[in-house]
Symmetry: C2
Subunit: 151 residues, 2 copies
């Protein structure tokens, strides 16, 4: 049984809900993924058939061992990509979030790993150059974040 990118997304979302709210509800998945509740139920049934979650209707939803594993892997890639986009490239969080949310499902293991290594390497070996790059390219967001306007 193949697992689709979208199913990965569902698993990751459920994992995060579990972590943050302690419980996984259809409504919350629906909200997070921007789809209607019936679509979530469809997905839950398929994930259940594939043995990635335990799901009985009107009952609580739980990730299985296998589902959890996939969710965690995906989530880790997400975090790693977010760090790269925000800390190295200086992309605003909302945009980085969207980019990461897509790329996490496609990026090869080696590429993800290399991005992490690169980030560390640069942060260690030329932090000043990185700082300078960010300063030169992140004026707008810096300005927006400014709570007290210069008088």
């Amino acid at each position: 049984m193949e697992i689709t990118k979208r199913e990965e997304e569902y698993l990751e979302t459920m994992y995060m809900l579990q972590k943050n709210k302690g419980v996984i509800r259809v409504k919350d998945i629906s909200k997070k993924l921007g789809v209607r509740p019936p679509s979530v139920v469809d997905a839950l049934k398929k994930l259940s058939e594939k043995g990635l979650i335990n799901y009985e209707k009107y009952d609580r939803i739980l990730l299985t061992e296998k589902g959890l594993e996939i969710a965690k892997e995906t989530y880790q890639k997400h975090v790693l990509l977010m760090k790269f986009f925000t800390e190295i490239l200086g992309i605003p969080p909302e945009i980085a979030e969207e980019d990461a949310c897509q790329f996490e499902h496609y990026v090869h293991e080696i590429t993800a790993e290399r991005m992490k290594e690169f980030a560390h390497y640069i942060q260690e070996h030329c932090p000043y150059v990185l700082k300078q790059f960010l300063k030169e390219h992140v004026e707008k967001e810096g300005a927006k974040a400014q709570k007290t306007p210069p008088k």
Copy 2:
């Protein structure tokens, strides 16, 4: 009318065929995208309805102004991502190719642009650190490429 990621992919492929072979054939699109010819024909009809290509059955296929524009944009992102993955991260071309092929359809303009700027910045401001990073992380491919084994 919305344009899908997959349609973008078709346009990009046709653009490349046009550039390389001078003519766009169903069979070649089929081969490049790894789908059967009828699927290509389906796609061509839709793209034609959306005004992105000129297509009459059994006739030659041409990108319209609008189709060409989208194809070029996508292609440019592809090239840029390839450069980043191979020249900055040292990812092997075949893998970089696959990553780029997906990400090019999702990445935000700002992120793509920033990657380009970052690449230039690093190459200019700390080329030695970059060289060192690549040397330390690209041993395997280097070894594989070695035609004459050290005796």
